[in-house]
Symmetry: C2
Subunit: 260 residues, 2 copies
DNA sequence: TCGAATTTGTGCGTATGTATC
DNA sequence: GGATACATACGCACAAATTCG
């Protein structure tokens, strides 16, 4: 007694603890609704709600007609986001430390990295204009990326570039031409724009329905969002993008040097 | 027709769009359950479930007996996590850009920053030992922090330090003594340990029940988690910590210089 | 091959407690 | 007190998918 939490939360926390403590291992089936109903003496709805909490937390995953199973929540890898690594098209190199949690060298062991993109010119929406330091409505090139690692969707990105920077050059389209795979820095370097700094604002939120579909997870699952802006030597924003990754699978790694 | 999504998701998406498009502004009351029930011709449970989706996504917040209201999802501020700023006890300076979305200078406008901490010696759990590069079970000092900005909980942190570094010195306890407010670098500098680098692994996940309680949000809401490790000149880990912030309120800012 | 039993996912109707107005 | 509103909970039902005899 004295436990004022609602029943469905108690059940959910109980199950979660059983997973954390290793009594329910990855791949194991969580007791079915009828079992839970009996064990906890709760109603159908209540145990279902408890299981939904677990699923929303990424602890479990339901399979139609089969059962609910404990998810493998070990991160697949890390996106390196430090000087030098950030300019590949993938916006980061990928560490796929798997099994062992070692600092994990560089291998990226033969994983195939591919991406698709589509671009179009649009007037800059207000928040994007603000990030780019331009007036709302000014023309920008909006590019949507979808990155795949081993045929699995990993990262979504939407990039905006002011056309005042690239218009008329042969790097207008980030996804086409010889500079397509060189990333923002490489591409802009080709037209004499030196990117000297990137600012990344990292946040997280539940995935929207289309994001979940693209990333192969369920809506509402946690995604990590990076709002990245590239600046040139004059502190002018030359590109900004929103980067979205599944939080349960990927983490971002930053290294902060103390030069003092 | 042709919309195969379940009813509760359609209602949720519909409400979400109404918020995104500005028809329902921040602070506005979402139609009550009985209204939604009537409008969408759905059952009590179903509309409730739709509203729960919105709440889980941080779009709305229920108030007992009053109604469900559209949440202010504008981030309160940004935690600066770049060279120099990271060594304050708060692990970051705080930008509170409010109202205007300007790049926001430095003000931190008179916000009162306080914190509480409690420490204790324990054997290192396996994952912590790995992060510190020591053997599991070796003694470490575990410190729990709770940071408040304007009396509101903002950030939770748990720090682990190998006792081999600080044992016997007067900076053993991070939360006590003259060096308490100087952060990891300041404290360790006092005993001749130079921290030259920090590595931050950024991820996110739903808040656990105790975290939600401490941070003043609901369980399952998105939190951003930083796994930070400080290294000295010999690449030895001298401290590691888990930092947890509400994702709907705070973002992390990293600056990446390109020295090329 | 067929059918019955399970299990998930979704949905409806109702009831109770509690807080606000 | 009464009306309204949220939050939780119970019981029941059905479609779809899987499993098994």
């Amino acid at each position: 007694m004295g436990d004022s939490r609602p029943v469905y939360l108690r059940i959910a926390d109980d199950l979660r603890r059983r997973i954390d403590d290793g009594f329910l291992t990855v791949g194991a089936r969580i007791p079915s609704r009828s079992e839970l109903k009996r064990v906890y003496a709760a109603s159908d709805q209540t145990v279902d709600r408890a299981v939904r909490v677990l699923k929303a937390a990424g602890y479990a995953e339901g399979q139609f007609g089969r059962g609910v199973f404990v998810t493998d929540r070990a991160p697949l890898g890390t996106l390196l986001r430090t000087t030098g690594a950030v300019d590949t098209p993938f916006a980061a190199e990928i560490h796929t430390a798997r099994g062992n949690g070692l600092p994990c060298g560089r291998p990226s062991g033969g994983t195939s990295l591919t991406w698709e993109a589509s671009a179009g010119e649009t007037p800059a929406p207000a928040p994007i204009a603000e990030r780019l330091g331009i007036a709302p409505g000014e023309p920008v090139l909006r590019t949507e990326y979808e990155y795949l690692a081993d045929r699995h969707p990993v990262q979504l990105a939407t990039s905006w570039e002011p056309l005042t920077v690239t218009a008329g050059t042969d790097v207008v389209h980030p996804e086409r031409g010889p500079y397509a795979r060189r990333g923002v820095r490489g591409r802009l370097a080709a037209i004499g724009v030196r990117v000297v700094r990137a600012r990344e604002l990292v946040g997280s939120r539940p995935a929207t329905t289309p994001e979940a579909e693209a990333l192969g997870c369920t809506a509402g699952q946690c995604v990590t969002v990076v709002e990245r802006t590239h600046f040139d030597g004059d502190d002018r924003a030359v590109e900004t993008s929103d980067i979205v990754v599944r939080a349960d699978r990927w983490r971002l790694e930053y290294t902060i040097p103390f030069t003092s």
